[in-house]
């Protein structure tokens, strides 16, 4: 079939498929991963500078990311190539009735998945990827909204999440504040946990936010 000479066809992949790859070594174990160089550079200026510079990385085409986990980077790569990421989770679902008597299905253990979203969110913050940051935040918000804290496991899961957020996000980040409010809402359950009390002692910012909401929130907080 003859083509119209005026028609120009293009592919969004073409831009990086023919421009080589860059090798990433992830985590302390230096797990090797490869990704198209142009794709990585196109995600953000920060990542572009990691790839295209006159330093070691730029010369060798290898980047060592000792602090980034392979799972989070896999999800990042999935997002970079497809515009979406999905966490494959084997945790069973449980039916929970709501205030109107309707039932909804939630994960029996939502915390590992929530933690992964938060890791991607942190990665986006570090390397300035607003789109992915927004997607991860949205997924985090969607998954945490039906979660009800019932016992020790939930309390530990939330504590771990709060701890991660306060250690890896800047003070100005809204997720920190949200989690502090979430903790205030379920303070009764959390204050019995040693891990929680111990965490408070190391995080003055969190303590401040908790004090602001000392009486506990009347309603469930929402992530804006």
């Amino acid at each position: 079939m003859s083509k119209n000479p005026a028609t120009i066809l293009s592919s969004k992949y073409k831009i990086f498929m023919f421009d080589g790859i860059v090798t990433l070594y992830l985590g302390p174990d230096r797990k090797k991963m490869e990704i198209h160089k142009k794709l990585l550079a196109s995600v953000s200026l920060e990542l572009d500078k990691h790839v295209n510079n006159c330093m070691k990385e730029g010369i060798e085409g290898i980047i060592y990311f000792p602090d980034e986990g392979e799972f989070a980077l896999s999800l990042f790569a999935e997002w970079a190539y497809t515009g979406e990421y999905t966490i494959m989770d084997n945790t069973p679902l449980v039916r929970i009735p709501d205030q109107y008597g309707n039932y909804s299905e939630v994960k029996a253990d939502p915390w590992p998945s929530l933690r992964t979203h938060l890791e991607l969110y942190t990665f986006s913050d570090k390397f300035n990827i607003p789109t992915l940051k927004l997607l991860a935040k949205s997924k985090f918000s969607t998954e945490i909204s039906p979660v009800d804290l019932k016992g020790k496991a939930d309390a530990d899961g939330l504590t771990s999440l709060v701890e991660y957020a306060y250690n890896n996000l800047p003070d100005s980040d809204p997720i920190q504040k949200f989690l502090a409010q979430f903790a205030a809402w379920k303070l009764e359950l959390l204050q019995e946990r040693d891990e929680f009390v111990q965490f408070i002692s190391t995080q003055p910012e969190f303590m401040k936010e908790l004090l602001v909401n000392l009486k506990g929130l009347a309603n469930r907080p929402a992530l804006a």
Partner: protein
Amino acid sequence: MNRSRGKIRPPRRGLATDHVDFDEYWEVLAQSLREIYAKNASHLSFEEVYRNAYKLVLKKHGDRLYGNVKKLVGEHLQMVAVRDVKPLLPSSIVTGDVSFGTATTERRTVGTKFLERLKFVWEDHQLCMGMMKEVLMYMDRVFCADRKIPSIYVACMGLFRDHVLRHPEYNIGNALNSVILDQIKMERDGDIINRATIRACVYMLEGLYETEEELEDQKVYLTSFEKNFLLASEVFYQREGERLLRDCDATTYLRKVDKRLKEEYSRCHDTLSMLTEAKIMKVVDQQLIDANINDVMEMEGSGLQFMLDNDRYEDLKLVYELISRVDSEKRSLKKKMCARLVAMGKEVNRTVSTPQIIAVSGADGAGESSKASATVVSEEKVANNITLVAIRWVDEVLALKDKYENIWEQSFDKDKGIQAAMTRAFTDFINDFDRSPEFISLFIDENLRKGLKGKTETEVDVVLDKALTLFRYISDKDVFERYYKKHLSRRLLMNRSVSHDAEKQMIGKFKMEVGFAFTGKFEGMFKDMNISEEMTSEFKRLLQESDNNYKKGVDLSVQILTSTFWPVGGGGSSDHPCIYPPEIRAIRDSFTKYYLDRHSGRKLDWRPDMGTADVRATFKGKKHELNVTTYGMVILMAFSDLAPGRILSFEEIQTITSIPEQDLVRNLQALAVAPKTRVLIKKPMSRDVRLTDVFAVNEEFSSKFMRIRIGVVATNRAETEQERRDTDEKTERYRGATIEAALVRIMKQRKLISHTELVNEVLAQMGSRFNPDITMVKKRIESLMEREYMERAEGERQVYRYIVSSLMALPFHLSIILVPKHNTETTATIIRPSSVPPTHKFRYWLPRPSPFPSPNTMVSFHTLHVQTYIPSFSSFLIQFISGIYMAFITKMG
């Protein structure tokens, strides 16, 4: 409550690992930054440096990191200033000797080396800061944004300003300014400099700001360099302006200024900054144009006058362009150009005035020695000469107009303001010449009679447009109208117009220009001509039907002129006395009857002074057809019954014909003196007709032509002094009436108005027709006050009040029914409109004698029964209606 809950335990191990030791991280980071300065970045890991800075910011060490980076950069820059820049500072500057006492070449070399070093240092700083900015991106994005402090790049640019340019010990910034200024001066003096290096240093100054807010008006370039540059330029161009004025002619001056402007434009674009363009242009504008352009324009032999006189389009264009830069109104150019234009115009006026004066004085001289009849003929000749002069005047004015129009188009970019000034100048000198309306009308007349023959429609249009152009300049349009009417009437009556289409085209142009009010009478004249033609043929037809011997009689062709349209003057037959031969009298009476039967109430005034007649005569057995004036025909008829050889004296002819003396002289001049048309002979033979002369038929007359035109009714020509005085008088009368009408209109509308306002409004309203004389306006106001149309407002100075009459409330239409009872008695009934109360009164006046109570009397506006005893009811009817109507429209405005 659980006891253990209250205890604060040490942090868990996992949390402890998140602790970041600033010093440890900073040491790694600082070493990396030093490596960047040392150009050893290739072995550094971007990720590691970025990660370290990220961690420090995340762990709340952002402020220390920010401060430490600044400190490190500051120390480096201090070292650079001393180590790299200071050695190349031009020694004269270091020692404070800003005069640069060395030779140009040396100065240029030293300066360029210094600039190049500074350029290198600056570019290196930019390069290193660019890399540092990249590894510290997280700090800029999170820490600096949260704290609302400048990015590290901006902060370190400020450090360059403070530690290098404003080094406390070595005044590097001042040296930079001086070197750039020195190099620019070299370039202005014709040397070649390294523009690129200067440009790079200016980039540096443009990239640096006084504060970290980086406000656009706080660029170091503006605050530190530009003002010095502008000051130096001002001095330079002031001196240059003085030198050029002294050494150059106007054209050279203008070209040099133009070159300087282009140089400065190019300098701003290639060497300095576009930010300076407007400012340096202003300096050049002020020093080279504003300060000196008047002197340049007035330069003897090369200034504006020379350029205008010699059509130096390019130079004039330059004058225009340069003046436009300093004055959007171009006042001085307009003033000087208009002064020259007016002077040239007045010169044209003067050249045409001079021969006229000589000619007229010559005529006066002749008048002293000969009789009145001779004076008439001499004046005629002078007038004909002046007609030629008039055409020449118009041609010269048009040539002037074309010349300046060309200059305006080619040099002045068709500037509207200049066009307006030119129009004013033309108006000034054209109106300064009191015969311009007459001359312009004569020019049109000449073209419509002869000039347009054989021309295409477009060519005709061009000529008419030229005439219209001049017409626009005339402020006394009423005077022009009077002349045009006179000339047009001659053309129409004597059938001298080349083309009626062209005539109508011209009138159409007038109408477009000044409206129907101006051309209404001209159009009326054409209408009269058409009606006359129809009426003549109908009359002939009726005559043919009723009279079998018609063909033997006189063939009459009549032109009936409405007296208000035509400049034929009023009056009755006594103004143009003439005893017609019986044949003519019969046909005249026949037509009069025919006409008045169809138009009762009208009055016909026969004008023998204006018509023509074809007379058949036989000389030496050869038949000729003589085309003469009506008077000429009457004179010839007086000889027709005489025996051969009989003579008639001047006085006898005058008695037989009753022709006024002046007309008789003119006609006898044509019949008995003009060599080729001498059908009468005069004794004694001389060039002038005298009252003592005697006349006889010239039996020896011969001509090879069958038809001979013996013209006396001169074609349109310039007016004689007497005619001009008459015209002026008529104009004054007409203007008085027009001003009065305007005054009443304004008073009616405003009711109460100050003297100044009233006069101004009258001037504004009359402006399109003529420029009224203030004294005349004042007189008209007095006159209207006397006639109780207006009065002085009580208690207010110089304020008039309109005297309101009841008619003010009337609707515009007024029903008048006049019921004739019989020919000598009639009753006129004015029907009062229902909206008007019976008690209302109105003021009216009628021409005397009137059957009504005396004019200017208040009459009850009820039902007015009038009995009239004047013989001609029809005539009365017209007078009555027009009287009422005039009263009415004057009141209604």
